[in-house]
Symmetry: C2
């Protein structure tokens, strides 16, 4: 086996496991290029074998029902624990570490309850234990705390780290619905379990805060030292009155360094609606972290779901793999040097397709909009909205136009044609629009 | 020298250099604990020696005017280039790498113009070349792209990565001032240079986009392939009309993967005011990144300034140091295991001091506010605002009170006393307020 080859075994093949295997299989070349490790998905242990005819999309002989083939398999370098729960997961992870395997887990309950034992064993055995996916899904907040902010004293963290609660509170705020209606909506959308206790009572957030604050303050801050209060007592009245005072109600996981020690608490809070954290809505997560050097920062993204969680799991698998093969740090520049560079086309600005804002100063006469609309139409540009504004000069007006998506080269043509129209008085302004609609970019 | 000891030499001792030395000297113990490396600040090369009596706060014999003592010094493990400019910096960095030293730089012009050569040499020599501070200051976006999102195809990036332009556009949007007035204000606050061309013409943002998009797409995307348009043509009219349509104007650095190739462009854009990126205001930076697995994410923080930049430089120094001593990955859990845990007090919730929102249902009679105010005053709680709301029952009203900061234990006492008042009809609601005012937390 070449030095860059790393064999990966998964324990568990639910939503996250399937997403992890999908990424490992489809992104193998890109991952090799970016990180210098060649990840082979070698074994996947699941509770039962798939029924005949079921599409599994895994390499041959990859599936097993025996987890010991993963944790004891002689060829496996990295074990990925995705079965959840505490006891069985603990036994399997312990066995893998004892065997000298690097381990990646997304299991926050395992860490919150038995993390200290696992990290101690991992340190003894000199293996990597990754847990980026355990908190805030795809948001790399663990890496930020473990690495990026190591030169900082963390002054405070305010986390929206339970997507269920954030969805419920956002619904209550935006739709002015009651707690129960919002909870039902969360359940319908799959954001809340049939028994939502762990989420709405703040326990899930407190588990995650235990992990984040332990890292931030280099001190073991167990779950049972965290003050916890859920969102079940928040009524639509509270939401409404808070709004009138300029506040939004969020379930916050808070850790702060104060003169009298570390505060660690989870409870609903009013926060100013103008703060960037107040804009973390729906099922999204956000961690607002203030360091003495870096100042205030926000990390925002999806805190749950198969693919976002798998994104974090795969990052840890790569780091475990780099540890396994050793000394690949310089390859992390992947793509920067010309030799490594991919053959990818770089588009000309002429081929860019966006919506546009246009402002034209035109003569105030009846035909003008028709003439302009004609030119735009000839150039394949259609108008989404238009308003007329008074200009300084009394015989001219400003037209402000928002277009639908159009090609830049068509807009260039339109500008040229419009500038030749007699009714267009002045040079005009064109600014591109980015809708930031992530399904649509 | 012990295995964990790493000697660090700085080239340049301006604003960032002084902040870096301050962190290295004051946070040495914390950094050792978090990262396993013991960073010795050994040499600092600056242009001229300080005049007698000037306070330098550096170890004895640390200062020199000869940069070769840093790049050729036999004891130096990590060289930190903070002199700026391209030619001299390139020569010194090259020499350091040739000598097998790990290098950290914050110099985006150096990378944008000669990065490919430097990375090639670093790869040959097997040394770490860190550049987190080159883009977006203290925000760990380079690490996110190099490591956290390696399993993702980056679909798009929309970056507000020039603080000067963002400050100017925010002033124009919020104060409705002209471009020139906003620019003068930026210059007065130190956010803009006397000659602001590099910033306001989008060139600085394009340098940074070259770095970000090269990493995101594993392809060398040089500055001269990026379409660049600055903000000088944006008038207060555009800001106002955009606002009327529900948009904010920002200078965006955009990279997108499309069917026809990679788009890379810097120009002013309208973005929806409800988007989280629109809330990146003043001199702050924000990068909105969408990956196929992770979905949409936002990284937000200070993109410039001595301490935020130093935060990123120090993170790279630590990583370079870990590379220098090798195999310390398992120590990154610093603080998680009980043995590593710091002796830090964990505050009781009773000692927490916050503002409070309270809602009480009370009898609608004249004395009520006086009675409640008396109780709160007796408990050292002062009222910041109060409003009266009609209740369902005709002889009661709701009082909504916002307090100044008070101790939780005093609030507990107040709750107990208030519940005994005859005028207080019902159980009442108390929710904590977090102002998220980072100078004040």
């Amino acid at each position: 086996m070449e030095k860059s080859e790393v064999n990966v075994g998964l324990l568990g093949w639910g939503t996250v496991g399937k997403s992890v295997s999908k990424i490992l299989l489809s992104q193998r070349k890109n991952i090799l290029k970016k990180s210098g490790v060649n990840l082979n998905l070698t074994k996947v242990a699941k509770r039962t074998m798939p029924v005949e005819g079921q599409d599994v999309d895994l390499p041959n002989n990859c599936l097993t029902t025996d987890p010991s083939e993963v944790v004891n398999g002689s060829g496996i370098d990295v074990v990925v624990e995705l079965i959840g729960g505490v006891d069985t997961a603990f036994d399997l992870v312990t066995q893998a570490i004892e065997n000298g395997k690097h381990v990646v887990t997304a299991n926050k309950a395992l860490l919150a309850e038995r993390g200290a034992e696992l990290f101690q064993l991992a340190n003894q055995k000199g293996v990597f234990l990754g847990f980026e996916a355990s908190t805030a899904g795809g948001i790399p907040i663990i890496k930020a705390l473990r690495e990026s902010f190591s030169g900082n004293q963390i002054q405070s963290m305010h986390g929206i780290i339970n997507g269920t609660c954030n969805y419920i509170l956002t619904q209550m705020h935006e739709q002015m619905t009651s707690f129960n209606v919002a909870l039902a909506s969360a359940q319908e959308k799959g954001y809340a379990e049939a028994d939502p206790t762990l989420d709405i009572e703040g326990i899930d957030a407190a588990h995650k805060l235990s992990i984040l604050s332990s890292l931030a303050y280099s001190t073991y801050l167990p779950f049972d030292k965290i003050y916890v209060e859920g969102i079940t007592k928040i009524t639509d009245k509270e939401i409404q009155y808070a709004k009138e005072f300029g506040y939004v109600i969020k379930l916050l996981a808070i850790a702060k360094m104060t003169d009298s020690g570390i505060e660690a608490r989870v409870h609903p809070s009013l926060i100013p609606e103008r703060s960037i954290l107040a804009n973390v809505s729906d099922a999204f997560n956000g961690v607002y972290l203030v360091g003495d050097a870096v100042g205030p920062t926000l990390f925002y993204g999806q805190g749950a779901g198969g693919m976002p969680t798998a994104s974090a799991v795969v990052a840890d698998i790569i780091e475990a793999g780099q540890t396994a093969v050793g000394g690949l740090v310089n390859l992390k520049t992947g793509g920067w040097t010309k030799e490594e560079s991919s053959e990818v086309e770089i588009s000309s600005i002429a081929e860019v397709k966006t919506r546009y804002y246009m402002r034209l100063v035109v003569r105030d006469q009846p035909s003008v909009l028709a003439e302009i609309g004609q030119v735009l139409g000839d150039c394949q540009i259609s108008i989404a909205a238009v308003t007329q504004k008074d200009s300084q000069a009394c015989d001219t007006v400003s037209l402000v136009i928002i277009t639908h998506k159009a090609l830049e080269k068509n807009m260039d043509l339109a500008r040229e044609k419009l500038s030749k129209l007699e009714v267009v008085e002045d040079d005009f302004t064109v600014i591109r629009i980015e809708e930031l609609d992530f399904d649509n970019t």
